[in-house]
Symmetry: C2
Amino acid sequence: MQNPSDRATVKHVPERASYDRGTIDSILDEGLICHVAFETDTGPVAIPTIHARVGDVLYFHGSHASRMMRSTVGSDVCITVTIVDGIVAARSAFHHSLNYRSVMVFGRPRVVSDPDERTAAFAAITNHVLPGRWGEVRQPDEKEDKGTKLLAIVIDEASAKTRSGPPVDDEGDVDLGIWAGEIPLTMRAGVPIPVTGLEAGLELPDSVRRISSRS
Amino acid sequence: MQNPSDRATVKHVPERASYDRGTIDSILDEGLICHVAFETDTGPVAIPTIHARVGDVLYFHGSHASRMMRSTVGSDVCITVTIVDGIVAARSAFHHSLNYRSVMVFGRPRVVSDPDERTAAFAAITNHVLPGRWGEVRQPDEKEDKGTKLLAIVIDEASAKTRSGPPVDDEGDVDLGIWAGEIPLTMRAGVPIPVTGLEAGLELPDSVRRISSRS
């Protein structure tokens, strides 16, 4: 994105900003959830939901009855994805911080009705939560498809903001005898819990095995 | 909260909602960051930031220059804290989900100028990120205090929404021979990385030791 719009331009601490699509896409893909901010009669709201990216398009979905799905079609939204990477422990309280990577995408969502685009987006959303899962499960039938509203927003107005690395202390604090450094934080998958009554003899599927062995 | 306001009432899947202050507070306290949604001339924005709770008040802070800190004073905001607890893997794509706990707090932030309230809030914010850290570090001097804008919002219009437990599959899918279950997700602290040039002989402080040994 060579010329970010005004609202997509990071105003505060601009040296932490990036408009590089590779950076933006990698954060959108790794972040498990997003927060969708939209306006209502009683003020702004930010609701967590699952998203997925396919090329230049970000998708999110929900029931037709959901307020978020009704309020955001054709209206300005901000979709924010944030990954926390670590705690930044400085010698002074003031310089404490978090390491993070975040992306904000601005635009007006459209309803997706094309069957092929819907299938591709549903596959992407399922695989976003659990890579490879779409091919392992029963795919949506007509009733489920009809019951699901799918929204899309083009990623053409977006910015990333990140912090990484150690704390930056004031010179006068360096000799105070206070420990300073980073504490990395990672999301880890625990031991999978099969549903009660799972058919006997079923092995862990590849998708679940992969995510569990990453930890 | 006996009588939640209209905007604080969970409309969609209300059986996942709670207005219990104990539930709300525990999510606010455990969630490392929040997203602050506010309105701007070019539409809504959701920005991630660090928060902390002291009793009935939620605090967040930033530089006087930050757009978020300028735009939110006296204006309607929604502060959302979301903790992802696990992946819900069903036999059908449709019934995939995440287990999560989230809270939305609505209100109009006020600027905090009382010195004692400011100190208590700064301590809470530092300890929110790293419990016990405030007592280990150099506390804010006059310049740092002057440079920090502190906002407060009373937690009197809030709701929690949570999902937990196994996937709920359609009866017809139970015998498809597809594995189903939960994959728990947890945020884990890795090995602390001391800053380059840390004074020799400094041991890990209690705050860092505690968070690292929890993993």
